[in-house]
Symmetry: C2
Subunit: 592 residues, 2 copies
């Protein structure tokens, strides 16, 4: 029943007209990504998402994954064919270097495609998503031999990847991990332990599964300083690249989850499994962070994808469902009732989701562009600035886009009344699937702590100062133009709130760290609101230059809605931050 149409047009508008994608043609891979190529790639990707991945989404929810007595896992009907189409389309290696089998195109295009895939079928998209994360970690930290052994096969999609961090007693606090690695004397290690919540840990989509696993080498220091990263293939790989013996890693059980039923979430038992160190011993967390940052951005994109598909279906329903009359008089007097899209409270809901989605898409693509600069620019200063942006925005994209993405899915479901609560309409699945994105890859509270405790203070606050400087410059450049005032003035108010909050932390959190912790989530959202406000101001400027186009007029209305109705939340966030930690922390734990 639900449907999906990947937002190609909006993505192209943002890349070409707002973000100036083609100004970066000096970077490797960008010259190849000419306007025609970009349009062709996204159009083809959209076709895959709309016609291959989306149609098996609901079946995946209903059927889920099943584990056989031998520990094998079957994915839902239709998943294998859809996965194969994805792999054969070359999507896995879209931005992987050509020498490792990829296409070397900008990661920005890959990110756009991630939104399409996440909107079409979140559970299915996680299999290639985790594979791309594993490729990213091996690209940065793997030895040349490891890269050659694993990456081309993963790019082909004949092998997939996973990341194994969590253990039953150890989620956020990885220092507690117990999985043990014992040197075998031949350069390999023998890994023993239990990992939980391992997405795509076992399945029938690929010939081999390349597990990246963190473990503690026997005798290593306690805590996070004794963690190493290993590559542990499901089947050992012979020297000629063919598959060898089955390794000692098995799926012990599948989790029964609220959503993403089509993805196999496994308890993985490592029972003397053979693995090889990736990067340096005891520096595994560093290596894992590469994978985690990529994954965090991708998870933020999942929030956007689910928000978008939920929005599209709510719009279709609101245009179709006849109920009541417009407050201003019958809009469809020839019908028994008006379509509910005439009702202001329905509009408010739809406009709110739309305004978020379009702004969030801009932020995602802008951030993805910075990622390309970090990895491809020759200019150290440009690289540093891009890396600062990435660091600052990674927790925002992850935390804010998934919090709001889930909330938007709930709002979209609400449009359907009782039909939204009934599974056959598919809205419940969007809500249940979107929920996971707030949790995995670091629960959103952890994102907020990462932002305020690590990303914000780093290098004397350089990243935040650069962001504020860029936004202030934009405001100064446009605050004279009458038409831009409805955008620039609210943006200035938001920036003032953001600056005041930042200042408040500098004055109050250094001596009392609980003041930072108690305001962290509000600060993350305050930054996210402001970043989206900046995106909308940039979009509005372009839309005004192209006035007369109906699509651009719609952009201006939607942008104004964002500025009037959503952005003012910054004031509430600031007010909360400034109350500090006193009432938050005053109760003794026993009083709860």
């Amino acid at each position: 029943m639900p449907s999906y149409r990947a937002p190609v047009e909006d993505t192209l508008f943002l890349l070409n007209d707002v973000l100036g994608f083609h100004r970066y043609d000096n970077l490797p891979g960008f010259a190849e990504a000419s306007p025609d190529v970009v349009e062709a790639v996204l159009t083809e990707g959209a076709k895959l998402a709309d016609t291959v991945l989306a149609p098996v989404n609901r079946a995946g929810d209903l059927e889920g994954c099943t584990r056989g007595a031998d520990g094998s896992v079957a994915t839902p009907k239709g998943f294998k064919a859809a996965y194969d189409a994805y792999a054969q389309g070359g999507w896995m290696g879209l931005s992987v270097p050509e020498e490792l089998g990829g296409q070397g195109l900008p990661h920005t295009l890959n990110t756009a495609m991630q939104e399409f895939v996440s909107g079409a079928n979140l559970a299915l998209g996680m299999y290639p998503g985790l594979t791309q994360g594993a490729i990213a970690a091996l690209l940065v930290h793997g030895s040349e031999e490891q890269k050659q052994a694993y990456i081309p096969k993963m790019v082909e999609g004949t092998w997939t990847g996973t990341m194994n961090l969590t253990e039953p007693h150890c989620g956020t606090d990885l220092g507690l991990l117990k999985t043990k690695a014992v040197p075998n004397g031949d350069g390999s290690y023998s890994l023993t332990g239990t990992k939980i919540f391992i997405s795509a840990g076992e399945h029938d989509l690929s010939e081999n599964i390349v597990h990246l696993v963190i473990a503690r080498i026997e005798g290593a220091p306690a805590g996070t300083k004794g963690i190493s990263l290993f590559v542990v293939p499901k089947f050992l790989v012979n020297a000629d690249g063919s598959l060898g013996a089955r390794n000692g890693v098995t799926c012990g059980s599948l989790e029964h989850k609220m959503g993403i039923h089509g993805n196999s979430t496994c308890v993985m038992n490592y029972d003397g499994a053979t693995g090889w160190l990736v990067g340096e011993a005891n520096r595994g967390l560093n290596a894992m962070f590469v994978m985690m940052n990529e994954a965090r951005l991708a998870v933020g994109v999942q929030g956007l994808g689910q928000s978008e598909v939920a929005y599209q279906n709510a719009v279709a329903y609101a245009k179709d469902r006849l109920q009541g009359r417009a407050l201003t008089g019958a809009a469809s007097p020839d019908k028994a009732a008006d379509p509910i899209i005439v009702h202001p409270d329905v509009r408010r809901t739809l406009m709110g989701i739309r305004a978020f989605n379009e702004g969030a898409r801009a932020l995602v693509l802008w951030t993805a562009l910075q990622s390309d600069i970090v990895h491809r620019s020759q200019d150290a200063k440009q690289r540093q600035a891009a890396d600062d942006h990435m660091g600052l925005m990674t927790p925002v994209v992850k935390g804010v886009l998934t919090d709001r993405g889930f909330a938007n899915a709930v709002e979209a479901q609400q449009m359907f009344g009782g039909h939204g609560y009934v599974e056959e309409w598919g809205m419940s699945q969007f809500v249940r699937d979107a929920r996971i994105a707030m949790i995995y890859e670091g629960a959103n509270g952890i994102q907020a702590m990462d932002l305020i405790g690590r990303k914000l203070p780093r290098d004397g606050g350089r990243a935040m100062m650069a962001f504020l400087g860029e936004v202030q410059t934009f405001i100064k450049d446009h605050d004279e133009a009458e038409a831009m005032k409805p955008f620039v003035q609210p943006l200035q108010a938001a920036v003032n709130d953001l600056q005041a909050a930042t200042m408040w932390f500098m004055q109050n959190a250094l001596t009392k760290p609980d003041n930072a912790g108690a305001g962290a989530t509000d600060y993350m959202h305050l930054l996210g609101l402001t970043a989206l406000g900046y995106m909308w101001a940039r979009i509005a400027k372009v839309a005004q230059e192209k006035a007369g186009d109906a699509r651009m007029e719609a952009k201006l209305v939607t942008g104004r809605f964002y500025m009037e109705r959503i952005l003012p939340e910054t004031t509430l966030r600031l007010a909360r931050i400034k109350t500090g930690a006193d009432s938050t922390m005053a109760l003794a734990a026993e009083a709860f």
Copy 2:
């Protein structure tokens, strides 16, 4: 795994110390409800909720209801025994007049019990909940004969009740309904049509099911002015009260829902079923509104109940789960890590839910007291004031408590990280179950429209003026006391926002009704925030008088958290309202 402990102590505190329950001893039934009786009733009710209803909650979710080929419906294992315990405890008729088999106690106590039941087992609680709604409608609109025929059996619990409104093409807009009633010539009618989303429509808990059904008598006017209410028993009732022939009403299928799996949500087919008019012909909507208002308050209480049980389990997990260290240094240096309740962002979440729950409980009990006054007072002026309060607060209790109740369940789930997403921990069920309360008995957007379009303007805004007057008087009486300033000053700010919003509508919505529609949801929340703020100020005053008691100290901290962190949201709500409908309504429907 999850557990529940009904909040007896807090309920008693609110009734006895804050709301002055025993000042109403002049009302029928109140003298009987002496302090000892109230405590005994609530303690007994809590025992039932904690030890009988809650233990079968998870099994109800896992197993759900099943429909046999003959149209019969089996409830989950354990539900029948739990339901019987509820019925045999006399809970169904707690506040029903004694002459109809009830206990005649105040409805306020029944409402407190509704919270306990909703927190323990929402799906199970709906069976008696709908029965109580049906009893309420028959009490007001049924003939003497109908009351005698149906109510005592329902009070016993041997028969249950339902309400049948929705049809496939007709939810909110009941004027569209098609179910037809044809007079049989003997005073009865023959009903034909299809009703959907009928909670407790068919099941194995009771011997008979008393359906209250709205339908259109052949030849009646179109729209809402041609709707009549009928009573249609599953089994016809003989003159001696024994069960007669099976009536022509059957369950065609069960809906597959996101949650409340233990409740049978039925498509009901009326195929020439025999029914009798309740109240006057073509005045069915009026009669139904009695039932709907009772039901709306009860649904608001469901939101609170789910918020409370989710909170309790999140607290238990936060005290138990070891992860990371307090920002201020190790709190449990002897353990591998600190319990996560030390982390400010965890505290912020728990305090937010707690502050909402305790304030919302006060609002619910206060409103229930007004309901008792409406039904039992001899003083017309007192009755009118109470009725005004009920009218104003019904959409707030329904809309705000379920919106926030669901959001709180999500926040509580978030405390569990990945474990929250896995069904075995039970947090997913709380989220999925709580979700329905935002939808049924009038989706929350409808509550907001009801508030702003009907309840607010009625009698020249008398209800709102009375509420504002009461709050202002409280503020004036306490704004000199230093200790009360942290409560009274934020409350005054909220009242100012509420007044400004009300004024804005008066000036801008009469000529442009879309301005009301676009701000309705924000206004409902603005009123809800302020009402809870007033409750907290009253609680704080009592707590200050009892200073020295640890429980009262906790109240003061929690109240301060509400005032500092939650109440300031009124400013955001006002800002949104004042933007009006322009950007909300500007896009043509085709532009979506």
